[in-house]
Amino acid sequence: MSSRKAPRPGFVLDVDSSTPPILFHHGEGFKLERLPVGRSRVIYPAEPIRGIEDPDQAIRDALENTIEMEPLRAHLFKGMKLTIAFDDISLPLPPMRRPDVRQRIIEAVLDLAAEAGVDDVHIIAALALHRRMTEDELRHAVGDRVYDAFAPSGKLYNHDAEDPDGMVMLGTTEHGEEVQLNKRAVESDLTVYVNINLVSMDGGHKSTATGLSGYKGLRHHHNVDTMRKSTSFMDPENSELHTKNWRQGDVIRNAGIKIFQIETTINNNTFGESGPLSMLQKREWEWTPRDRMQFVAMNRSLSYMPTGAKRKIFHSWQAPYELTSVQAGEIEAVHKITTENTYAQHLVPVEGQTDILTMGLPYVSPYNVNSVMNPILTMVLGMGYFFNLYRGKPLVRKGGVVIMSHPTPWEFHPVHHPSYIDFFEQVLAETTDAEEIEKKYEKKYAEDEWYRHLYRTSYAYHGVHPFYMWYWGTHGMEHCGQVIIVGGDPKAVRRLGFRPASTLQDALEMATDTVGPQPTITHFHNPPMLMADVT
C-alpha cells in the first residue's frame, strides 16, 4: 500500500466544454450523462485514504490503549456475563471482503475473554428492527470460526426486539422518551459493542440505544417530527435523531449498564484501485483506454441480462475496504474521534447551494443487501441518505429539484420486505403525506401479528420499517419543490409521489417548471461515498 500515491482530496469540478460525460449509477447499471456547460458542477469524493497496515495489531492496541475507560482486560473476570453486540448486515455497503472488521474485533475480544476465563459469552447482531441475518451473512460478518463455536449452542444470534421475554424497559429520559433494551445486554456485566462506521450517522449511542432497542424505544426518534428537525441526520451536531439517542444513552448509562464501545472507520475504497470495476471510482477524464473498453463491455453485457442476474452479480461484489481507524472505550469520547475520522474521508467543501441536485442511485442501500432495492428503498437512498449527506445546509436550495437516476422497478423481495409490499400497495396508494401516514397507519403495521411473526422467525424487516423509511425522506421531500426519477418505472415513480422522466435532458427540462430557466446544477458524484460541507 505504501507504493500508492497520496490520496487526493475531494473537489468540485465546474463543467465546461472539455468535461467528458459523467458517470451516473443507475441501479444495476450505469449511465454516462453530459451536464449543461457553464452552470453545472460535479462534486467528487476524495480518493480512498490509506488503510492501517496491520489491522489486527491496531485492534489489539486499541483494546489496550482505551479512551476515557480502563482497557478491556480490566473489565473481564471469571464468572462474568459478557455480551458482544455488532453492527448488522446494513454495514458496510457493499459488504466488505473477508475477513470482516467485525470478525477481527470479535476474535480479539474473545481472545482476551478466554484469557480472563470468561465463559458466559453471547454474541448478538444488533439489528434493531432490521431483518435477521442468515447463516451465511452471520458467517461472513463474524467468520466461520466464531460462528461454528457459538451458533450451534445458541450463543450467537440475532437481536429480537419483539421477544416478550427478551426486552427490558429501562425508564424514560427527561423528555419522556422511553428506553428499551435487549435483556441480555441489560443483565450483562459488560456489553462490548463492535461498530463499523461507514457514514457519520452511525455509531455512538445510536449503536446501542437503537441497535439493541425495539419499537417502544425507537418510536421516540424514528418519527416525522424528529426527522424534520434533523438537518441533517448525517451531522450529529444538528441532528435531533442523535440528540434523542444520546439522551437515551444517558438513561442506559445511569441504569448501570456498562458498555465498552469499539468503533472503526473504513476508507471509501468501494470498487478497488485495480480490477474490473475500478474505473467506477476514478474521475472520468482519467479513465484509461482499457477502463473505457471495460466499461463499454460491461454496460453492453448488462443490457442483455435479466434484472435477477444483474442483481446477483452486483450483490456478490465485496468491497476491498480498509480499516482506517479503530478506537475503543467510553462511547461519547470514542465517537467524537470516529466522527472526525469519518469526516476525514468523506467531507468535501462546497460553496453555495444549487437549483437542481442530480444523483445516480446504485443497486444497494442499507436495507437491501442480498435483496431487492424496491421503490421505497430507492426513495430513501436518494431523499434520505444522499440528500442528507451534507453539513451546514442542503446542497440543493429550498424549493429546488432533486433528479435521481434509477430504474425503480415495481419489485420487492417477498421474504425481506413483506410489509413494504403492503405499504406500497395500500398506504402509498392512498397518500404520500408522512404525517398522515404516521397517524393513520404506523401503529397498525407496527403491532401487526403476521409481520411480527415474520420479523421474529423469518428474515423480514419489522412491520413498521417502511414507515421509518418514509420518515427518513421527510426532510428532503419537504425541502424540495420537486423530485424526478430518470429511467424509472413510471407507475412506481408516481406512486412515490415523484415524476418520471425518460432521460436526464427531459428531467432537466421538467425541473425548469419549478426552478425557472437556466438553473444551476450540482451532481453528487457517487461512488464512492462523500459528504458535502456546504457553506
Binding site: E107, L110, D111, A114, E115, D119, V121, T134, E135, D136, R139, G143, D144, R145, V146, Y147, D148, A149, F150, P152, S153, T307, G308, V372, N374, P409, W410, E411, F412, H413, P414, V415, P418, I421, D422, E425, Q426, D448, E449, W450, H453, L454, T457, S458, Y459
Partner: protein, 794 residues
Amino acid sequence: MIAEQLAGKRIAVTGSTGFLGTALIERLVRSVPDCELILLVRPGRRGAQARVTRDVLKNDAFDLIRNEMGKDAFNEMCERRVRAVAGDVGTDGLGLSGDDLDLFLTADVIIHSAATVSFDSPLDTAVEVNLLGPQRIANLCNDHGVTPHLVAVSTCYVAGSRRGAAPEQLVDESPFFVNVNWSAEVDAARRSRLDAEDASRTPERLSHFRSMAQKELGAAGTPALAAKTESLRQSWVNDTMVEGGIARASSLGFPDAYAFTKALGELALVERRGDVPVSIVRPSIIESAWSEPRPGWIRGFRMAEPVIISYARGLLSEFPGVPEGVVDVIPVDMVVASIVAVAARGPLDSGPDVTQIASGSANPLRYKNLVDYAEEWFTANPIYDELGQPIAVAAWRFPGRGRVEGQLKRARTALERTDNVLEKLPLRGRMAEYATQLEERKELLDQAFGYVELYGKYAECEAIYGLTNLLALWDSLDEADQAAFGFDPRVIDWKHFVQNVHLPSVVRQARAKTTPGKKTGPTRPQRLRKQILSEERQMAAFDLENTIIASNVVTSFAWLGTRNLSPRDRMIFAAKAISQGPGWLALDRKDRSDFLRSFYRNYRGAPVDQIERDAAELLSDYLLAKSFPAAIRRIREHRALGHRTVLITGALDFVVEPLAPLFDDIISASIGERNGRYTGGMVGVPPTAENRYQAIADYADLHGIDLRESVAYADSASDLPMLEAVGFPVAVNPETKLASIARKRGWLVEDFQKQAGAPRRPLPLAPRTGARSEPMTTRLMSAYSTPARPKTRR
C-alpha cells in the same frame, strides 16, 4: 261496446305470467273496469297469489294504471278483481282442486294463452302443454257441466311452412293438411322420452358422459363427477327430445315443434270441445307494443331480440332470408285487443271460429326493409364495446341458410380444434383465461348457429296469412271501441315501429351499452370483491398450492430433504427426484389422495425434531419467496374483518405450521411418527377433492358457520366441491377447467402473482447448513468451540 259486453263477467286466463298474458291482464284490468279475472298459474314455491303479484302485477306494464290510480287504490282494486288459482295446463284436470276448481268453473270466458313458446322445447313438453293443454280445459268444463266461451290462443304458423295464402280456417280444413292422429302423436312423444331415457343409460353412453365430466372437472372427486355425469345425461336426453321434436315437425311440414304441437292442439280441441263453445285466435310473431300500455313495451327476451342484439354487437353478420320475403310481425297490444274483441263478441253459433292477427297480407314488412331500417338505426345509434368504441354493423347480404350454416360450422370446427389443444396444455391464470375467451367465442358461435337453425325458417317463410275474419270483426266495432282496442294492422308505419318503437326498447331491454366512453362505476370484479370483503361474511377458506404459494408438496419435500445433505448427496438426490417426477405428476392428475399417500412415504425415517427445525427455514427460504403477496394480504383483510380464516391443504402439517399466524385454523394432512422419526404413513384422509368439502362442512358445523355466507379460494377444478359448497367462491389463477367453470358461473377470478423481484429458484434445494470452519487454530478461542451438530442423514 266491448267494455260493457264484458262487464260483470268472470274471465279466466291461463299463461298470464307470459309476455302476451301480462299484456292481456293489463288491458283487461285497465280497459274493462267491471270484469273479474281468475288467473291460473303454476304455484311455484311461493304460491299462486304471490306469483301473480310478483310476476304479473308488479310488471312495468301496469305502471300506467298504477300511476293513474295511485298505488294503494291499484292494489285494492287488484285484490278485489284479480284472483289466482293454482293449477297447471300440463296435467289432466289442470291440477285444480277444492275452492280453486270451484272458482275456475264459475268463469264466463276462458282465455287460454299458456304455451311453451320456446321453439326448441323438448317434444314431449311441447306436446303436454301445447297439444294437450287446450283440450284439457274443454274436458274439465265438460266434466263439470259448464260451458264458458273458450278463446284459445294459437299461432298463424299452424299453417305450416308453405308459400302463398293461408286463410283463417281450421287446421284440418286446409288442402295441405297431412292427416295425423294427434293422440297417436301424444303416445309417441311420451314413448320417445322413455326411449331416450333408456338410451342414455347404456354403458357406452354412461361412460361417455363420465369421461366428458372428467374432461371438464378433472380430479374433482367421485361425488362431483357423479353429479356432473348425471347432469350431462339429463341434458343429453333433453337434447334428444328437442331434436326429435324438430325432426317430427319438419317431417310433417312444420317449421318446428312449437307450430306442430299447436296445430295438433287446435285439432284436439276442436275434436274434444264437447259443449264448450270455442274461438281460436292466431297471432303471427308477437313483438313489442305499438302503443299500449306504452309504445315499445315488451317482456322478456323474445325470438327476434337475441338476433337483433347479436347483429348490433357485430356477432352475427349473416342471417339467412329472402329479401322480398315478409317478416310477419304483430305488436302485442294488437293481439291483446283482438283477443278481447273476440271474447266480447262471444262464440259463433256456427261452431269453432278462427281469427288470425298478423300483418303480412294487409301491411307487409319486407325482410329487406327491416334490415335496412335496423342498419340505419344502429348506424345512427350504435352499441358500444367495453372500450367505449361504437360497433359498426355489418351489411346484410341475404345468403341462403345453407351457406350461413356452412360458414358457422367451419368456424366452430376450427375453434373446437384449438380448444382441444389448449385444454391439454397446463395453462394457468391469464393464459387459462385466454382459453376461456376462446370458449366464449365458441359459445357465441353456437348461439348464432342456434338462431340460424331455429329462426331461419321463419325469415324464409313466405306464407301470407288471411285476415278476413279479423277485419270483419274490426269493422263491426264502433268508433269508441276502435279507439280503445286498436288491432288494425294496416295502421302500422313499419319504419316508425322498427326505429322508434321496437329497436330502442330491445336495446334497453338487453342493457346494451349505448353511450361512448369507458364504463364508469365499479367493475364486476370490484363489486364481487366488495361482497367478499363484507362484514357479513363469516369464513374464508384458502387452498395453499397455487392459491397462496406457487409451490407443491414435492418441492417442499425436496427442500427439506436436501437441507442436511453434503453437496455430493444433494446432486444424487436431485437427479433421483427429477427421474421420478413424471410418475408423480401422472399419479397426482389421476387421484390426489393416492398421490399424497404414496408420495409422503418418502418421509419415512426422517427425524421429527430436525424437520420441525428446518420447516421454519423452509418458509423463509422457499415458501415465502414463492408466495403471492396479494393472497397473503387478502387473508389478512379477511381476518381484520373478523372472518374466520382457514387454510385447507393436502400439504403436511409441519410444512404449513409456520403459516399458522395467518389463520384461525389449519386443516392439513399429517403423517405418523414413532420414536422421534416419521413413519411415512398418513394419519387420516387428506383434505382433497370431496374430502375437502367434507372437511369444510364439518368445520363450519363445529363453529356454527353458515357456508352460504363464506368465501373459498382455490385454483383447480379438483377443489370444485369446496368452491361449490360456499356462497362466495373465488378462483385464483385458475387452470383452464376451473377458469371456464368460473366464467360460466360468474365467480370472481383473482390473478395473484408471485412478487416481481422475488428470488428465482429453479431447483427447490435448501442452502447449506452445518459446520464449515477448520478446528480452532487460535490458541485461546478454542475454549469456546463446541462440537458441531452431528450430521443427520436419512
